[in-house]
């Protein structure tokens, strides 16, 4: 490097990747301490993206960029044009795309089958859940024995809910809290379901090979061939893990297909540009940190404005929990999935602790809970514990609470009486009836060795 370099030239060399380790430290120090250097870097970055925008227009490449997703199966889908002459043009263009999406969903709804053969029966149900009939009518809450057919849509609404469905061949499908599943018309002897969001576990009937089951998500269509599997999906990403049997998976984005054998997994995303790849299911980890600044996948909650010392705050959202046809309770909950925050399964152990950091605006009992599945297996129930306000810091102050897993009680002891050896799938915190202004800042799972000796409040 030239010793006469100005700080600006040093920054440009950094952007060129031409610095030694010592020079990189100098750049880091410069950016940490010198607001003028940061202002220059921000200006360079803005000018770089604007120059690229202008060149796309000048070289007449706008059309090429519009067509790019259609030409290559590996390119991602665009929802906005590459460059807008003004923000108004951009909003208008994006609004058209959004409108098209709404129209498409309405058309899809109108094309739902008009017949309703009963193809599954509810075999187990807990918590708040509901189903909508194939004509779009809200039906009564689900009960054991309810027969469901093509066009019906199930929603598990509360954090503690789950529903097990038995198919005609004896296979079972389970969905957990905050999941939406639509039953589709059977096709060529295959039962079909669409998991719109949430978690689903499937187990084949015992005995000789059974008919394939097709599970669609917003991202993939998975044909399960005698498979014991689990699927987690959001509106843009899906994770499929095959524990027994195999699955043939087609990516909606480009139509590519891939076979996933036992012990392997596949992740697909609408925003990922690579082709589908199947990887071995990684070994579990026993500690996990869900830093909200890394934007985990939120099932329930709303982002609150940052404060001086807290940039990522997830506030509780109201959730109506129907207990019966007449009674309901209002919950205010935050819920996060673990599957997207950790690249490996998160293993729960008897001596592990969950550490939550957050605050409430008003003193109130906070219920903390988590969902589990068997390691490489099926849904294994939920566990909860209530923490009274006296065990938290005064209302308005940030608290940190460490909760040993042994303090959590099982909501479904018939599935698992203890979380020891199970996999963490999602975590939640809530207040009941009253909105206490609950917000969560971070969640961590501490393994036995990492956990602090004394509980901290």
């Amino acid at each position: 490097m030239n010793q006469n370099d100005s700080p600006h030239e040093l920054l440009l060399r950094h952007l060129d990747g031409r610095l030694t380790q010592d020079e990189r430290w100098r750049v880091a120090e410069l950016l940490r301490t010198d607001p003028e250097a940061r202002a220059f870097l921000r200006a360079v970055a803005e000018q770089a993206v604007m120059v690229a925008d202008m060149e796309r227009i000048a070289l007449g490449r706008q059309e090429e960029f519009h067509l790019r997703p259609l030409r290559s199966a590996h390119q991602g889908r665009k929802i906005l044009p590459v460059r807008f002459r003004s923000w108004r043009g951009g909003v208008a263009a994006a609004a058209v795309v959004a409108l098209l999406a709404v129209v498409a969903s309405v058309v899809a709804f109108q094309l739902l089958p008009s017949t309703k053969p009963g193809i599954v029966r509810v075999s187990k149900v807990t918590g708040s859940s509901q189903y909508f009939g194939f004509k779009g009518r809200a039906e009564k809450a689900l009960t054991t024995g309810t027969a469901l057919g093509a066009g019906d849509t199930l929603e598990t609404r509360s954090c503690d809910a789950w529903v097990e469905l038995k198919l005609r061949d004896g296979s079972t499908i389970t969905i957990a809290g905050h999941s939406t599943l639509r039953i589709l018309d059977a096709e060529a002897g295959r039962e079909q379901f669409k998991l719109l969001e949430g978690s689903l576990w499937g187990s084949p009937a015992p005995g000789p090979a059974v008919a394939a089951v097709l599970i669609q998500t917003p991202t993939v269509a998975a044909e399960m061939r005698g498979a014991q599997f689990d699927i987690q999906t959001s509106s843009t990403e899906t994770m499929v893990r095959i524990n027994e049997g195999s699955a043939l998976i087609r990516q909606n984005l480009d139509g590519s297909t891939v076979e996933v054998p036992k012990g392997r997994q596949l992740a697909a995303s609408l925003s990922r540009k690579e082709s589908l790849s199947v990887t071995p299911q990684p070994g579990p980890i026993s500690s996990w940190a869900c830093d909200l600044r890394q934007i985990p996948d939120v099932i329930l909650g709303r982002w609150l404005p940052p404060t001086g010392n807290q940039r990522a705050r997830l506030g509780a959202n109201p959730l109506l929990w129907r207990i019966s046809d007449r009674d309901s309770v209002m919950l205010y909950a935050v819920a996060l999935t673990a599957w997207k925050s950790a690249e490996r399964p998160v293993l729960l152990q008897s001596d592990s602790k969950l550490r939550f950091r957050g605050r409430t605006e008003r003193a109130q009992t906070v219920r903390f809970g988590f969902s589990t599945q068997k390691m490489r297996g099926v849904f294994a129930g939920k566990f909860e514990v209530d923490v009274p306000p006296a065990s938290l810091r005064p209302a308005g102050e940030t608290w940190e609470v460490e909760l040993p897993l042994r303090n959590f009680h099982p909501l479904h002891p018939q599935l698992a009486s203890s979380p020891d050896g199970l996999e963490l799938t999602d975590v939640y915190a809530l207040t009941i009836q009253e909105d206490a202004g609950l917000e969560i800042h971070s969640i961590e799972l501490l393994s036995g060795e990492a956990a602090k000796p004394a509980e901290k409040h």
Partner: protein, 179 residues
């Protein structure tokens, strides 16, 4: 009261240059930064969570752009070039704490400033930021020494920064005047 889809889109478009620029600081590739902004917009429109205020949305958008940028670096095995998270957060905080101009106004100001600049300056910026050549490759193509290129690019960015700020300030003052 949560932001509507229209509000989310309108806010993202107003902040488009800054969010793309924040992604660019991570990936240092203008086309990848544009892709990342598209992905952020896609996620904002399709995810189940809501945003109570514009600042909550923008906080989320900057962090998501950074995360996508780091994923991109990982996929391209270029993690070593990434600045520390603390510095990226500082830059994002400063971007967020300054009032945003409509995205169109800033790019129009840049266009005006570049029209007044020599042709070689425009070519230099195109080679560096649109074609993606390093300064060394740009120096070779333009037949100029590498140190001279760094000095020239540095001066060019500084003068464009001042020119854009001047034009935006003038535009604001003009808008405030009674005709």
């Amino acid at each position: 009261m949560n932001l509507s889809e229209q509000d989310i889109l309108k806010t993202l478009m107003e902040w488009r240059t800054r969010v793309s620029a924040a992604a660019w600081v991570v990936v240092q590739d203008a086309h990848a930064a544009e892709d990342i902004f598209q992905n952020v917009a896609l996620k904002a429109m399709t995810r189940a969570v809501s945003f109570e205020t514009e600042s909550a949305l923008m906080s989320w958008a900057f962090i998501t752009a950074r995360r996508e940028g780091i994923d991109w670096l990982r996929r391209h095995q270029r993690e070593a070039t990434c600045l520390e998270a603390e510095i990226l957060e500082l830059l994002e905080h400063e971007w967020q704490s300054r009032p945003a101009h409509p995205a169109g106004a800033k790019i129009e100001a840049l266009q005006d400033c570049l029209e007044a600049a020599p042709e070689t300056s425009r070519r230099l910026l195109k080679l560096r930021y649109f074609d993606g050549y390093s300064c060394e490759e740009v120096a070779e193509q333009m037949g100029i020494g590498l140190n001279a290129i760094y000095k020239r690019v540095s001066r060019l960015h500084e003068s464009l920064k001042n020119c854009i700020e001047g034009k935006l300030t003038n535009a604001e003052n003009t808008e405030g005047q009674v005709p």
